[in-house]
Symmetry: C2
Subunit: 556 residues, 2 copies
């Protein structure tokens, strides 16, 4: 068994020292890439190329300029930026000054941004000219008065540029910085590196804090999860304001790969860049796959390689998987939350499944999967007792996570942090099952479950069934009050252009596909409302299903 | 700048807890592989296959049996084993009981092994039947009385089996173990996981202690350094008693790859296994490449893929590189020491070099290279002042390293530990230069430098020049006393079979290749003496060069 004293001879005279202990951080990834591959293309943007030498020099200039402005350890530097070079530079330059990067979702409303600037105590903000009107409005909602650094991105159309707020021009700031400055490692690997606000469908957004240790480990965890070889070519379809782009600014740099920037996610431009630069990897929600697939086959360039598309947020439907394969992509399904640095669970593909019929393959692919190497614990359990549910693929419990890629906590919210970590596990709030082979599958958000006649109905399962109908483009299912059953499923459906289907037809179709009691009792044909980040606004649908038409604004 | 207080809001209420902090360790790699890929082949040996499920079960059985025998945290479990399944199982099973694995070089003499068993305080030892006579002799040299666990490996020839020492049979021990036992994570990632004695050309061997954190980080560092995709097939040509096989027992398991065991490194068997199992990676000193290349082309099977050979210990000569390429291998040159878990420096290949003439490519490949992602600092400096030498490719300094893959220290030797870490850097004792592109190149061991007329002569440079002569098979150069110059180079040369060359001819050849003063003043044609691990015994040669023929035993 061995007590603590037994480690004795293996501890005596072997304390940590400067030679054998260095705080883990993703920052040395850039220093190494710039030293070993100074001339390799680090960033492609708007027809220009930034080498790794220049990438490092610009990041260090940014760090030294922030330091020169009195910004340092524990200070927040916000960013309202598209997926361009400045955002990548900020992922290194801000923490190289020991400051904390707060990349803000540019699709949020001004009031929410104002709340974030106040709550995060932003000392400075990097803002693209396009988002200056948004920032101006946000500043009207808050007390924060950050140093404003204005980024003038050449491809930003003249008509989209807001009038200057009188801040420092980003290029002028860099020009005043020192590329030879001795950038700062974190004092402790537990120091904060980034602050990311949850999009939260209800209540105030919470500030999720990442530390250097976790960012290092998840960035390298992406390498094995995505099976990424060195020098990848990565297309920036996933916004870097979502979980720091799932840590890919650090992952791609660790492998001395090429970041291909993309100001706006548009199908033809994606295809052009993928073909022109031999893109090997890209990430995004299913809507990004749909955008790719919307481009007619005749208008797609020929691809020389098979890019890997890492997707999260919703299981990729069978039809989309088939279309992606036909379009020349490999799809990898991952799952995570802001609180775990982006993806921490991966649908590890077993080659034995290649031989399955398409429908069964899609079912395997729909499962969220198993833990990243960097996530030490993943279970489906009773959230109160923490006892694991049977691994039968049927018993629903809460998905719990534990490990070094779980957030440091919520900023200035000890109660929420404690609740999230109750019992030594991070409570995701997602409901799912554990299959006998240890793969987890989400069944619902805790609040999205439909309880009908004492039976739990997963709205995802009903939605999946609807998606199998040839006419359905979008399906969203919520609970509606039901006198007899308590609740019953109500479906909101968008049909494909030119397609037709009746309510009765769809209900009968679902009854033919899954258990009868799970079929919707009502189908509403409508445009399904989404948040700025593309999430279906289920709270809006629930209100509609209840017959309550009050405006949804106050529930945000 | 930001003082320590400034991290304030990013620390308050965000301490480490069980949900967001787990000690880093390579042990969960096996648990994950067995859970996600239970049926994949983990170990191929003697015609049989061990699945990942069985690999985990056997490792956990071993851990529980050790625990049942009172062996736990801080206890040493030694191993005298070939590269077979028991050795792989020990790499997980021993630390799963919180004990420390001490894999001993089976080529050592009995007295040295006795010293190691005493110094390491071995509580148990796993011994292959072939090494029982060696162990019996070693026990005659020491006071240690470890629990003896005898491994009966089927392919061990009957004639090679020593008579039992009356220990427990390994399979009986496992049979009494519990595959469902809750194996133990380390209490702290700084806890020891392994003990490896340096082969040391002089003095007593030193016990290098590895911790779980470093083993985790180097194991995954191998993935990016070797650019290894998932499910590699790895041939065990590198002994696991060298730096735990450079941490590859953990690397390959992390990627759910296949370990192909090899009891003895023999050319035809290597070729057979490489072709039969589609080996993707193997490691070893240049002598292993020579063994591969010794097999006549007509007797080699056809390879379907291009295996990567990671080599260390000496720069691969141009002719060997060409022959390996022709034989269908990619060569990757790495460099390290026991104190840094095996390799920590890699000759990162720049595709631009592919276009160079063969000779220049070989020169690039001969350089040791740049730091692993997992090694945070690598420099060539003055060992006293720690000031870096100019990166001019010429000024010789000591190679210094710093980072999380530097050992915890030397067991029970605080003085040596302190000296090794003087000034916050690990002093390798190797002399080298830093090239302008930040690649390091070794020039000599500190003690192997030849100082002639006040000029430093690198014995490696002289050896390299000799190797370029078509008749030279092996060359080793040491200092010999010289009345006029203080010291001068003396070369010991083995000629290729059937080749001829005279002393004058070789001296003239070297004078034509490098600076005149560096040419050997004497060439001795002889068999070059090597240690059990294949290192040239320069101390023996130095004695010969001095005309001192005393036996070398006392200098070990």
């Amino acid at each position: 068994m061995g007590g603590a004293s037994r480690q004795g001879k293996y501890d005596a005279g072997m304390e940590r020292n400067a030679a054998n202990f260095v705080p883990l951080s993703p920052l040395p990834f850039l220093a190494r890439a710039a030293s070993v591959f100074p001339d390799r293309p680090a960033i492609l943007h708007a027809g220009g190329t930034t080498s790794y030498r220049a990438f490092r020099d610009r990041a260090v200039r940014l760090a030294s300029a922030l330091d020169g402005n009195g910004i340092g350890r524990g200070d927040t530097v916000a960013a309202l930026l598209p997926n361009g070079p400045a955002m990548l530079e900020a992922h290194f330059g801000v923490p190289m000054a020991r400051a904390v990067l707060n990349a803000i979702n540019t699709r949020l409303d001004a009031a929410t941004i104002g709340f974030i600037l106040d709550h995060g105590e932003a000392r400075a903000i990097l803002v693209d000219r396009e988002f200056i009107p948004l920032l101006r409005a946000a500043l009207g909602h808050c007390a924060a008065r950050p140093l404003i650094i204005e980024v003038d991105d050449p491809p930003c159309p003249e008509t989209a540029r807001g009038e200057t707020l009188g801040g420092i021009a980003y290029e002028a700031l860099l020009a005043g910085g020192d590329p030879g400055w001795a950038w700062l490692r974190p004092e402790d690997e537990w120091d904060a590196i980034a602050l990311n606000y949850t999009s939260g469908t209800t209540g105030r957004p919470k500030g999720v804090v990442y530390h250097h240790r976790g960012a290092h480990l998840l960035a390298l965890g992406n390498v094995t999860a995505g099976d990424i070889a060195r020098h990848p070519v990565y297309l920036w379809t996933l916004p870097m304001f979502h979980c720091n782009g799932w840590c890919f600014p650090w992952t791609i740099t660790a492998l001395a790969g090429t970041h291909v920037c993309l100001r706006h996610v548009r199908g033809p431009e994606m295809w052009r860049l993928i073909a022109a630069h031999g893109v090997t990897h890209l990430c995004g929600a299913p809507i990004v796959m749909a955008t790719l697939l919307d481009v007619p086959v005749a208008e797609r360039p020929r691809l020389e390689n098979t890019p890997t598309f890492l997707t999260a947020a919703a299981p990729p439907p069978e039809a989309v998987l088939a279309a992606m394969a036909e379009a020349g992509f490999r799809v990898c399904h991952v799952y995570g939350l802001t609180e775990v640095y982006g993806p921490a669970v991966v649908n590890e593909w077993n080659e034995a499944w290649d031989a399955l019929p398409a429908e069964d393959r899609a079912r395997k692919m729909a499962r969220q999967g198993v833990r990243y190497q960097a996530l030490e614990g993943l279970t489906v359990a009773d959230p109160e007792t923490l006892l694991p549910m049977p691994a039968d693929g049927e018993t629903i419990g809460e998905v719990l996570m534990r490990g070094n890629v779980v957030m440091k906590g919520y900023l200035k919210d000890e109660a929420a942090t404690e609740a999230a970590f109750a019992g030594g596990w991070f409570h995701t709030g997602d409901l799912g099952v554990m299959h006998p082979d240890s793969y987890i599958q989400l069944k619902d958000r805790a609040k999205d479950i439909i309880i009908s006649g004492g039976e739990n109905i997963s709205s995802i399962e009903v939605e999946d069934a609807l998606y199998r109908h040839a006419s359905v483009a979008v399906a969203a299912v919520v609970a509606m009050p039901d006198e007899r059953w308590g609740e019953s499923p109500c479906a909101f459906v968008e049909l494909k252009p030119g397609a037709g289907a009746t309510e009765d037809e769809l209900i009968a179709f679902v009854r033919g596909a899954i258990a009868h009691y799970k079929a919707p009792r009502r189908v509403v044909f409508t445009t399904v409302p989404r948040t700025s980040t593309g999430k279906v606004q289920k709270h809006v649908l629930r209100r509609l299903a209840r017959g309550d038409d009050a405006p949804p604004g106050d529930e945000r």
